[in-house]
């Protein structure tokens, strides 16, 4: 279990959704993330740039035939930050004595 560490960068609503999707995957294509999150190309690029600058994601560009393909994965650092953030959220809820945890 990771040490609780609330992460402001991850907690921003769009980035929380983005990082949550990435945390469930080994890698994901840019198009997949855009479609699942309902974002525009530019909005997703902006969020990915922010996460990439923090070292939370790795972005790889390649070609399949003549078509460019961009794939994204959560870095080890990013996964650690996400795990710590989840632990912090769970701690906040647990301390409040509520039972609003999913599956609780």
């Amino acid at each position: 279990m990771s040490a609780p560490r609330f992460d402001e960068l991850i907690h921003a609503p769009t980035r929380l959704s983005l990082v949550s999707l990435l945390a469930a995957t080994d890698w994901a294509e840019f198009r997949y993330l855009r479609d699942q999150l309902g974002l525009s190309d530019s909005a997703l690029s902006k969020q990915l740039s922010t996460l990439e600058q923090a070292g939370y994601v790795e972005v790889r560009k390649s070609f399949v035939g003549k078509r460019p393909r961009t794939s994204v994965k959560l870095s080890r650092h990013g996964r650690g930050a996400f795990d710590g953030h989840v632990a912090a959220l769970q701690q906040i809820v647990a301390r409040a004595g509520t039972s609003v945890l999913p599956g609780a």
Partner: protein
């Protein structure tokens, strides 16, 4: 630890969102319903082609099934634009997949040999058809089980 400035209800909402996004990723990665009858149909067709013992039928059937299988796999592969974390499947998921595959093989063999001993024509095709029927009937149930296994795992670093 950074001092968070959010309320417990906001933290709970964030956890709900994290769960929902994981469920979304898992659901999108499951093979579609049409995959199972399509794969079963190809298996049965290939077996029937071989069982005719006519070289030209075997040749045409082999090429046709290879093309069909290639198309099937390509369609499923192209549809998947993300790879769900392999660790989510866990021991229970792996055992379920292996058990399912072995069960299908056993069903095909038992049905085929039973058909042969009963003197039925095309016993191998009967066995393959039984396997195809079982795949069609239960493939989505396996997917549902795997989805349950993957979404039941703790989020974050919990195991």
């Amino acid at each position: 630890m950074s001092e968070p400035r959010i309320s417990p209800s906001a933290a709970a909402d964030a956890l709900v969102e994290i769960h929902a996004r994981r469920d979304q990723a898992v659901t999108a990665a499951l093979v579609p319903g049409w995959y199972w009858p399509a794969l079963g149909g190809l298996m049965a067709a290939f077996t029937a082609a071989v069982e005719t013992h006519r070289p030209w039928v075997v040749a045409v059937g082999s090429v046709g099934c290879a093309l069909g299988l290639g198309t099937l796999v390509a369609r499923v592969a192209l549809r998947h634009r993300a790879q769900v974390r392999s660790s989510l499947i866990g021991v229970h998921g792996t055992v379920a997949i292996v058990g399912y595959a072995l069960g299908l093989v056993a069903l095909g063999l038992v049905t085929g040999f039973t058909a042969e001993s009963a003197g039925l024509a095309w016993p191998a095709t009967v066995g393959a058809a039984a396997t195809a029927g079982a795949m069609t009937a239960t493939g989505q149930s396996l997917m549902g089980y795997l989805r349950g296994v993957m979404t039941a795992r703790p989020i974050g670093g919990g195991r």
